[in-house]
């Protein structure tokens, strides 16, 4: 007979897994599978959420085309993540702060960044980061994980000011492996900071599948290491994403501290337009599986069933969005030429001798 072990590891591991079930409201066909947690959204709000998701899909398609034509620079595709991105943002308030990753441009635009500025960011123009006073956001973060610690500091600041606004930040499944991601959640827990961390698990970090990031069965359970609530949600389900984010926002705004949300989602396209070819690491089955779970299909079915959405409505919206994008790309073309002397002036409030000399040198060149 074997000796009794001090710890039952199998029981321990299954307890952890059981604590992070996936929240879902709409199934892949748009049928309500969990009426009890249906969020309180008016018909107009439901339609507005659908409009934003369709807008985002069109923005994605046009951005791919513009990038191919050389009219955009860096672009990280968003198709497939509309529920994860737009429905989570739909739970924000205008006063809330957004610390986006580089793929989170749709949320940034919905939060108040103009489309021409978003395009200028993609091209590499400083005007893309010249944010209006009332836009509570910082530019997209390229260093994966940095936004988690920064957003934490932002939320600590909001708390010190007695603000009832909440900070939101996003990263991906790969980003969950970074030290800063853990540090941000852990500090936020200690400071009871009003912040919602969203990890969009789209299955791949460039070519590396989610399973190679961690042996943890969910990313949501990483919240336990920080002593904060973690929730896993069907990231292709706009109603579930909205409901979960809304609840997290209320929890944080009420002074209870941070929440981690993991959205299970997928990107239909490449990692970025910088030469990534997903067919090298994903088979057709994987694409087919996820495309059947398209958030637009299920939400379209749901709304059509309720008599709130029609094909004509969608067509009209698509045309209008295309026109908007065309105009925005044109407006972005009008941005002034960037000058090195201006950048030198932007370095410091009080520049030293080195910068002052270089400003004079470059101004002389630029005025030739």
């Amino acid at each position: 007979m074997a000796n009794k072990q001090p710890v039952d590891y199998e029981a321990l591991m299954s307890t952890i897994e059981a604590a992070f079930p996936m929240v879902q409201i709409l199934d892949k066909d748009g049928k309500v599978v969990n009426e009890d947690i249906m969020p309180d959204l008016s018909d107009d709000q439901l339609v507005e959420l659908m409009r934003r998701m369709v807008w985002s899909r069109i923005l994605h398609e046009r951005s791919m085309a513009l990038a191919r034509q050389g009219r955009l620079g860096f672009y990280a595709p968003t198709a497939g993540q509309e529920a994860s991105q737009l429905a989570s943002h739909f739970a924000f308030e205008k006063k809330d702060w957004l610390y986006p990753g580089y793929r989170d441009i749709p949320q940034l635009i919905q939060h108040g960044l103009s489309l021409p500025q978003a395009f200028l960011w993609s091209r590499g123009h400083v005007e893309g980061n010249n944010y209006p006073e009332d836009l509570n956001a910082v530019p997209p973060q390229i260093i994966i994980g940095a936004q988690f610690i920064q957003a934490m500091g932002n939320a600590v600041g909001q708390k010190l000011k007695g603000s009832d606004a909440v900070t939101f930040t996003y990263t991906g499944d790969g980003g969950s492996s970074q030290g800063d991601t853990y540090e941000g959640m852990n500090f936020a827990g200690v400071y009871k900071a009003p912040i919602v961390f969203i990890i969009q698990n789209n299955g791949y970090a460039i070519s590396t599948p989610r399973e190679k990031q961690t042996a943890a069965k969910t990313i949501a359970q990483k919240a336990a290491a920080a002593g904060i609530p973690g929730v896993q949600v069907d990231g292709m389900d706009p109603l579930a994403v909205y409901a979960v984010t809304k609840q997290a926002r209320e929890w944080a705004a009420a002074g209870n501290g941070p929440v981690l949300i993991e959205t299970i989602t997928n990107r239909f396209g490449p990692h970025s337009t910088s030469g990534d070819d997903p067919t090298r690491y994903r088979d057709q089955e994987s694409f087919d599986y996820w495309e059947q779970r398209d958030p637009l299909i299920r939400f379209r079915n749901f709304l059509t069933e309720k008599g709130l959405w029609s094909e004509e409505q969608e067509e009209e919206l698509i045309e209008k969005t295309k026109e908007e994008i065309k105009a925005a790309a044109k407006e972005a073309d009008q941005a002034p030429k960037q000058k090195i002397s201006d950048f030198l002036k932007n370095m410091f409030e009080e520049p030293g001798q080195n910068i002052q000399e270089q400003i004079r040198e470059f101004e002389a060149k630029e005025n030739k």
Binding site: E127, V138, P139, A146, I149, Q150, V156
Partner: protein
């Protein structure tokens, strides 16, 4: 006037500015009730409370991110990195984020962050405590790097750093913390950032240095005086950006330069000083510029620190070579 050590002068600067400006927040590992591992923040927690003087979890990167977010929210964060050898954990927040924000956002958003951190050799610390890493910071566009050499400057430079709209890395040499006292005015005053000081006037050779090496240079100057050589000592005080005018003025007067740093030859800011002198006043030079620096090894094991660190004797030797060239 009070007779203060450098660390007391730093504490006084923090206290007085915190009293004046409630946006100033101090945080780091053990800076609260404990008053800091060197007592630099002694009494501040008691006076200003948890919200303004806060002990953080043990994670330098998180501390850097916290400073970033607090600055975006309009605060004036003073983050402490317990020993500057630990800066590698927070290089992204300092060199990849805070330093770049004003540029990134079109000159509209300032990052009034002060990074306080002890460093420096001669006190037999364990590994990764004493390393001279100011060169890494000085090579990062968007940062100002300040290294005081005495209590008076420490208070004035700290006050100026706390009021600066630009991010400042404020490095405090551990051997200077309590090794001597200085008359320090009780009222607030500033020593301007980016301005060097003539620590000693002379006419035969310029010794350009910073941090603890200012003390060694002063000792060397006394020795040189006995041998009939008059050395002028320039204390850089801010190592980035350099006060090139003050350096050049001195070198053009003396015609000879010895650049002195505690950091390894390939590190520090000595090479940048030499480069400026070469570009701007080569025709005034009577001799090649001499360089006193530590050997290009990893910072030494405790028992060999004194053999490794540059000192007054090294400075005397190089100064004489330069004068007799």
């Amino acid at each position: 006037m009070a007779n203060l050590t450098m660390i007391q002068a730093i504490t006084e600067a923090l206290d007085q500015e915190m009293e004046k400006d409630e946006k100033v927040l101090v945080f780091g590992e053990d800076v609260g009730k404990n008053g800091g591992v060197f007592r630099a923040t002694q009494g501040l927690h008691e006076k200003y409370g948890d919200d303004r003087v806060s002990d953080t979890p043990l994670a330098e990167s998180g501390i850097g991110g916290m400073a970033f977010g607090l600055a975006i929210q309009g605060f004036r964060p003073v983050m402490e990195i317990q020993f500057f050898g630990f800066v590698f954990e927070v290089m992204d927040s300092i060199a990849g984020q805070i330093s770049r924000t004003r540029y990134r956002m079109g000159g509209k958003v300032n990052m009034p962050v002060v990074v306080r951190s002890p460093f420096g050799g001669g006190v037999h610390t364990p590994e990764m405590h004493a390393d001279n890493l100011e060169g890494l910071m000085a090579q990062t566009p968007g940062l100002k790097v300040v290294i005081p050499s005495n209590p008076y400057d420490a208070k004035g430079l700290m006050t100026a750093s706390l009021r600066s709209e630009d991010p400042v890395v404020f490095l405090e040499h551990m051997k200077l913390y309590r090794s001597f006292r200085d008359e320090v005015p009780e009222e607030q005053y500033t020593v301007p950032l980016g301005k060097a000081a003539v620590a000693r006037e002379g006419k035969d050779v310029s010794i350009i240095t910073y941090g603890y090496m200012v003390r060694e240079a002063l000792k060397a100057a006394e020795q040189l005086e006995k041998d009939g050589i008059s050395a002028e000592i320039i204390d850089l005080r801010t190592v980035s950006p350099l006060d090139v005018d003050t350096i050049i003025q001195s070198v053009e007067k003396t015609g000879r330069a010895v650049v002195v740093q505690e950091a390894q030859r390939q590190a520090g800011v000595g090479a940048a000083v030499i480069s400026e002198i070469s570009q701007r006043s080569i025709l005034s030079l009577e001799a090649p510029i001499a360089f006193v620096a530590a050997p290009d090894t990893v910072y030494p094991f405790g028992m060999v620190e004194n053999d490794w660190l540059p000192n007054a004797a090294d400075i005397v030797e190089k100064a004489k070579e330069t004068v007799n060239f």
